[in-house]
């Protein structure tokens, strides 16, 4: 091998090492950029999306649709944006219900997205159960709390018979409280004859 060949070989080797170095540097730049910009929730950076607290009622064995608590119009993201929401209960919150009791459902048809909170049929009753959630929109995120209720809603109706009376007459006031139970309802009625106070 001539001296010229040796020089040529050295040049090729140096060029190859330089290319490897540049390739590696490029990869690290990409990775570093991703790490720096991923805005991972929990990495110490503040949440940049403002999310509202909200209450939601879900009957056991069903799902209830809810609007986006982190947007002004309640809409979920449309392409080309990406969004996602997940429950992030604290240990204390998690200890107050079973993991199987609750889950989220996202339905996407074309550009239309709806999200629901679902409660298992055999779940315990939730009464204003606090559950933290995290919402991500592209590289931004926000957190807040939902208050989940599964307890049947008590309804009360009130009637007066007759509904209008003259001075000195009396009217019967009837209040009926209804509580859904096993597909029917439990009613409790109370009535009183009342004369207007003078």
């Amino acid at each position: 091998m001539t001296e010229l060949d040796n020089i040529e070989t050295d040049k090729k080797g140096a060029s190859s090492r330089l290319k490897r170095f540049l390739r590696l540097g490029f990869l690290m730049a990409i990775a570093g950029l991703a790490l720096g910009n991923s805005n991972c929730p929990g990495d110490g950076r503040p949440a940049t999306l403002v999310c509202r607290e909200f209450s939601i009622h879900v009957d056991r064995g069903t799902c209830t649709v809810f609007p986006n608590p982190c947007s002004d119009d309640g809409e979920w993201a449309h392409r080309p944006s990406f969004d996602g929401i997940r429950l992030e209960p604290t240990e204390e919150q998690q200890g107050q219900y079973e993991a199987n009791d609750i889950h989220l459902v996202t339905t996407r048809v074309g550009d239309e997205t709806t999200r629901s909170l679902c409660i298992a049929p055999d779940a315990r009753h939730f009464v204003s159960q606090r559950i933290n959630f995290l919402y991500g929109l592209n590289s931004q995120y926000g957190t807040s709390t939902m208050f989940v209720n599964t307890a049947p809603l008590l309804s009360v109706s009130v009637t007066a018979t007759p509904s209008t009376i003259a001075p000195g007459q009396s009217s019967q006031l009837v209040a009926t409280a209804s509580f859904p139970f096993n597909g029917s309802s439990l009613n409790q009625t109370s009535s009183v004859d009342k004369q207007p106070d003078h």
């Binding site: 790490l35 991923s38 889950h103």
Partner: protein
């Protein structure tokens, strides 16, 4: 060589600080993997075969591996178009994944990964596996993803099982909305969202 080692070490430390806080551990783990092994970004991998064309209703269940509890269900109605990538190109930059697609099978695999983060005593592990079968107008499959950190760092641990059941509701698809990957359409997990930003 010293400069390279120093750069790698700095990057790993940066990634480690992310992992300490947990939420993005799966992808920070993958990023460290890229940095340490210095592998070039993967190609876009397989694309959707012609036989899959149509409008599909795809249901994906995510279950917590530890408790078995259903965490989330995504039900998506969208088109599957021949030639669309399976893995989002922007994700392929971060995670070493491979995919395969034939007229009857589709699989995604993001390598088993284990790395001791230099100088930290922290070990990170990550994995995604998914296999599915396509038959006439049905598509069913299952898999899992997991990521965890152990050692001298905050212990993040995520593991979910994935179950997919889908039916083709029409063999027609306009395929005029631009190319979008299968993962972006049907596997839009909340933890993926930050990494898909700015892709379109």
């Amino acid at each position: 060589m010293f400069v390279l080692t120093k750069l790698l070490s700095n990057l790993a430390q940066l990634a480690h600080s992310k992992i300490l806080h947990g939420a993005c551990a799966p992808f920070a783990i993958a990023l460290i993997g890229i940095a340490i092994t210095a592998s070039p970004p993967q190609s876009l991998g397989q694309t959707i075969p012609e036989a899959w064309i149509g409008t599909w209703e795809v249901s994906v269940d995510y279950r917590d591996r530890q408790t078995g509890a259903l965490v989330a269900t995504d039900v998506t109605t969208d088109e599957i178009c021949p030639g669309d990538p399976i893995i989002p190109p922007q994700l392929a930059q971060y995670v070493r994944c491979s995919s395969e697609a034939t007229t009857s099978d589709l699989g995604i695999s993001c390598h088993n990964w284990h790395q001791t983060i230099p100088g930290s005593g922290c070990n990170a592990f990550g994995d995604v596996e998914f296999k599915s079968q396509f038959n006439d107008d049905s598509w069913v499959g299952n898999g899992n993803w997991s990521a965890k950190t152990v050692g001298k760092c905050a212990h993040a641990n995520y593991a979910e099982d994935i179950v997919v059941s889908a039916k083709r509701i029409s063999t027609k698809a306009s395929c005029n909305r631009g190319s979008s990957s299968l993962v972006e359409k049907f596997f839009l997990h909340s933890r993926l969202v930050p990494f898909l930003a700015g892709s379109n």
